[in-house]
């Protein structure tokens, strides 16, 4: 009985809503509906699985006969909320892996962009200052591609993958100029922006990409694919820029270069690059697939916290914009 805890794990739940006394748990492929009591039990099981407590403890907590606990866990597995560790494949091809990635990408992106910052900006509760801050950090993030894209080429071993990564870099390396153009339209000078300091989470994004590049080219590539997934078509980004321009008096000339950049990404079909790379991977162990997936999801969490960092810094009126580096002679 004690080994039940090691046999099962909880699936990722992307959202929990509570319509009319029920709980709806959104997984990547389904919505599971639970009553309040079952939801409470589910939460207790999910917290118990990775703990050192025995089944007797769980049975007491659930107020359920110990003999009935395995049956309840089995029911949770059938509903899709839990899965058996042993049910996973031992190996898969790169293309099979890509299919799994594609099936969760939308859930991942909804998680990445679930930060309240977006609703705030779209509802008119944001500000031109927040819009500008986001743009400055996008400038740094795009410029910092030069810190990780070439590193990924250096650490790639298979010729075709090296080639694809290098081509991507060649197409992307100078895209930060688009954001510089936008920021100049907002009244900043080039040295003000070029010499400014990114927020810690902006730097963290490129440092994480560097970490991925050193560890595994596929780990790097899935992160890159998540980022490219945010710009696959205009429908996903136009409303934000159009609404912000309207609400916060952002001149059209400051938004135009951003559209030019996004259109270029679509034109290059960078969102197809991950599949092109995975076609060169004949087999992946379950362990490698897990590592690569984990990098992708960590990048999703980075985006969420990046947004949080931007909102918290730029909403404070007294914080300098752009951020200056420290100088012993000046500070």
């Amino acid at each position: 009985m004690a080994s039940i805890a090691t046999q099962y794990r909880a699936k990722r739940v992307y959202e929990i809503t509570s319509p009319e006394g029920r709980r709806q748990l959104r997984l990547s492929d389904r919505i599971v509906e639970l009553g309040e009591r079952e939801f409470d039990w589910y939460q207790k099981v999910a917290a118990w699985l990775p703990s050192v407590r025995g089944v007797a403890d769980l049975s007491r907590e659930l107020g359920m006969d110990e003999a009935k606990v395995p049956k309840f866990i089995d029911a949770l597995e059938k509903s899709g909320l839990l899965y058996r560790v042993d049910d996973g494949p031992n190996t898969m091809t790169g293309v099979e892996f890509h299919a799994r990635f594609s099936s969760v990408l939308n859930s991942w992106l909804s998680e990445a962009f679930a930060h309240p910052f977006w609703d705030r900006m779209m509802s008119g509760k944001g500000s031109a200052r927040l819009f500008t801050g986001w743009l400055i950090e996008l400038y740094h993030y795009t410029k910092n591609a030069n810190r990780h894209m070439p590193l990924s080429c250096a650490h790639a071993h298979e010729k075709p993958i090296k080639q694809l990564r290098a081509k991507h870099y060649a197409e992307e390396w100078n895209h930060y100029h688009y954001f510089m153009k936008s920021l100049k339209e907002l009244g900043f000078t080039e040295p003000q922006i070029a010499e400014s300091v990114p927020l810690p989470m902006t730097l963290a994004l490129s440092n994480f990409m560097r970490q991925a590049a050193r560890q595994d080219i596929l780990a790097y590539s899935i992160c890159s694919a998540v980022l490219e997934g945010t710009t696959t078509d205009r429908k996903t980004y136009n409303p934000y820029y159009e609404k912000s321009a309207e609400l916060y008096g952002i001149p059209k000339s400051a938004v135009t270069p951003i559209y030019q950049h996004l259109d270029l990404d679509v034109q290059y079909q960078h969102s197809d690059l991950f599949l092109d790379i995975m076609q060169h991977v004949p087999e992946m162990s379950a362990e490698r697939a897990s590592t690569v997936l984990d990098y992708g999801h960590q990048l999703v969490e980075h985006i969420w916290l990046w947004t949080d960092n931007i909102e918290k810094y730029y909403q404070v009126e007294s914080n300098p914009v752009p951020r200056r580096s420290f100088d012993v002679g000046l500070d």
């Binding site: 990775p50 997936l293 420290f326």
Partner: protein
């Protein structure tokens, strides 16, 4: 006149013509007095001094020579210079220098300057609301356990950044960085022991840090690879937050743990591990490590000083992010420990 080893910036007599009110200085005026504050320095001007400062304040931009300011104010340059040199001595004003490559200060002078700035940069970390939430029992179970896990991940990462630092060390820094790695690499196990009272070992080992913790570790890693001295300048800021056994700070930490035990009894063993780690650090005498390093480095140029202080400042921001990540992320996403993905988990 400032000398080449002055910790306050300018390095040649010629540069004493371009006065700059330090960007982080604040100026307050009331009842005819002018109060200028910078770090812990405070200077109060009264009467003619206050009046003269008020007139010339907008020209103290590091680009306007004293002669030119005097011309604009129709005043005597010598009178302006006398006041400006006093403000320079008080540390609220600097004379701008364009030269980055000459020795600006000794390692020991840097040590003093570093401590002064770091204490200020650490203030937002000490004032972070997460401390109060834990002490008052308002923090959730996920935030409290998350705090323990993230501390574990950070300490365990000594393998990464201290290893990288030792492997990329300059000759004079190598013995310090090697010793530090050897003394620290087992400390993650102290925290793991505490976590094992609640979670199986393999769950702890497989668990994922928050992006904000990863950000702190990666920043240490990247700095360690790039510059031994700048890395340790940043690492020293982190060391300054450790309980050194000094009475006042020690009591505050004891109170924190007592409140945590009271509100979250299940963290008893975790807190034991926190305390065990503090004692292990105290026994190693890490408080002297940076002092010894500063004694052993050659004089530092302005560029080196700026680099090392920028790393320390960024480290403080990353540490604030570390605290903020625990507070914000675990409040929104309450899963703890954080399991890694596998092909079925998503």
């Amino acid at each position: 006149m400032l000398t080449a080893s002055s910790p306050r910036g300018a390095d040649a007599p010629a540069s004493k013509d371009l006065p700059l009110l330090r960007r982080s200085a604040t100026v307050a005026q009331h009842d005819g007095q002018v109060v200028i504050r910078h770090l812990r320095q405070e200077i109060t001007l009264e009467g003619a001094g206050a009046e003269l400062f008020t007139r010339m304040e907008s020209h103290l931009d590091g680009r306007t020579a004293i002669e030119a300011i005097a011309g604009k104010l129709a005043d005597k340059p010598a009178r302006l210079r006398a006041l400006l040199e006093q403000l320079d001595e008080a540390g609220v004003l600097a004379f701008l220098s364009a030269r980055d490559d000459v020795a600006l200060m000794s390692g020991m002078e840097f040590y003093q300057l570093h401590r002064e700035h770091c204490q200020q940069w650490l203030e937002p970390v000490y004032n972070h609301p997460l401390w109060e939430k834990i002490v008052s029992g308002q923090a959730s179970r996920a935030q409290v356990l998350g705090f323990a896990f993230e501390k574990y991940h950070y300490i365990e990462a000594a393998f990464e950044h201290m290893g990288i630092a030792a492997a990329n060390a300059t000759p004079e820094m190598m013995p310090h960085l090697a010793r530090h790695f050897i003394e620290e690499y087992t400390h993650g196990d102290i925290y793991r022991k505490g976590l094992r009272s609640l979670f199986p070992d393999d769950v702890i080992l497989r668990s994922q840090p928050l992006p904000s913790t990863r950000a702190l570790v990666n920043y240490l890693n990247e700095s360690a690879q790039r510059s031994s001295f700048a890395y340790y300048s940043g690492n020293e800021l982190l060391q300054m937050t450790e309980n050194t056994g000094e009475e006042g700070a020690g009591r505050a930490v004891d109170d924190f743990y007592a409140a945590m035990r009271k509100h979250y009894p299940y963290t008893d063993k975790l807190i034991d591990s926190f305390i065990a780690h503090t004692r292990a650090d105290q026994n190693l005498g890490h408080t002297d490590a940076f002092l010894l390093m500063c004694k052993s480095v050659p004089p530092l140029t302005r560029r080196e000083v700026n680099d090392a202080l920028n790393v320390a400042k960024n480290m403080a921001e990353h540490l604030l992010l570390f605290m903020d990540g625990i507070d914000t992320f675990y409040a929104k996403f309450a899963t703890v420990p954080r399991p890694p993905c596998d092909p079925l988990s998503e």
